[in-house]
């Protein structure tokens, strides 16, 4: 039987073009997206038709999870350090520079002042555990810790914009106390972070 010689073709594909495509996509993502801050708990925000975008800077984020735990965070590492120092003076607690630095690296924190020092000294694996943070006490509006946090945050950065990020199933009383505290502190303009919902068409 005559041997049919099959011409040997090279199996190496030129990957240059593929590489170009990959780096173009990478450049697109690098330039158009923003890093999301790591939040202590996962929150599903309710949806609304409002299309107003949140401000870019000077945001004070009040995060409330589905169980009613309150977390607070402001923009800017220096502002965070100053805020913690001010809260420390109010509660007669002094924080070491390492503790201040640790606090300023976290975007949102929700710990009662009594537990703050021990929380900041937790090792790395435990500190990111959602159950390590018990939430800022906000039961009464008159002298709650939450009120102090908001007051000092405003003092620290006057241009701050308050944004409340609540979960769908957050019980209404917690929201009511938060809003009442803000009302008492004369911070009557604030934002509620929501997801986007389509405007109903048949109106």
């Amino acid at each position: 039987m005559p041997k049919v010689k099959i011409a040997r073709k090279s199996t190496l594909v030129d990957m240059t073009a593929m590489c170009d495509v990959a780096f173009l996509l990478l450049t697109f993502f690098m330039l158009t997206s923003n890093f999301t801050a790591k939040e202590p708990v996962k929150v599903t925000t309710p949806a609304s038709i409002s299309e107003i975008k949140i401000a870019e800077t000077d945001i004070e984020q009040i995060l409330i999870d589905s169980k009613g735990k309150v977390f607070l965070g402001i923009d800017g590492q220096q502002h965070r350090m100053n805020l913690l120092k001010a809260m420390g003076e109010q509660f007669k607690i002094t924080f070491t520079p390492t503790e201040l630095k640790k606090y300023s690296l976290r975007a949102t924190t929700g710990v009662p002042m009594a537990e703050m020092k021990s929380f900041l000294n937790l090792p790395a694996e435990q500190i990111d555990n959602p159950s390590a943070q018990h939430g800022i006490p906000s039961d009464t509006t008159v002298s709650s810790e939450f009120r102090q946090w908001v007051y000092f945050a405003k003092k620290e950065n006057d241009k701050i914009v308050i944004a409340i990020k609540g979960d769908k199933d957050t019980p209404f009383p917690v929201i009511k106390t938060v809003m009442k505290t803000l009302q008492d502190l004369k911070q009557v303009r604030f934002n509620l972070i929501t997801g986007l919902k389509e405007v109903p068409k048949d109106i």
Partner: protein, 209 residues
Amino acid sequence: MAEISTGGGGHKKGGKKRSKKASTRVDLTPMVDLGFLLITFFMLATTLIKPQTMEINLPRNDKIDKKDETKVKMSKAITIILGKNNKVFYYFGETDPKTHVEPTIITTDFSKAGIRSMLLDRNKDIMAKVKELKKIKLKTQMSDEEFRKEASVLRSDKDAPVVMITATDEAKYDNLVNILDEMQICNVSKYAIVDLSSHHKDLIKPYDK
């Protein structure tokens, strides 16, 4: 690539003996892998969406004079009470001070035929006016700024309904956001979030099982 010609009387180019053509082709497959790995990292660690917000303005807690409170016309006042399990109760006006007849409570929900149909019905005139304004906006190419200003003027018409929103302790944040959303959809600009009074609680007790 320079080739050495063996024929002819030319001297060797470059002075080097090139018996084998050295390949300059580099295999770029690992480079592509690296590229996609970086893309995957950025896709997972970042977001393209900026979160949306609803702007809220609460009234200040300063002392309000009694005479300012009663300025709301009874026929224009709607009270909405948010209950548990996404139920919404509402009633019009207030308890008649003379006959002490309680207003009728109506139970509804957040569906299309629920609270929205009531609000659209109550706000018919303003809805029609805003629709007209939208048509004018398309025809004359009004700017967004102007449209918003005109629309807010229309909404704060003195005959517009006034809505008081309150909620029981079993309501959820989702309910509050939904009702504020309905305010925006139905073009109601006069609303306020008030405390749940014992009067409210008594009114909805038979309905909120």
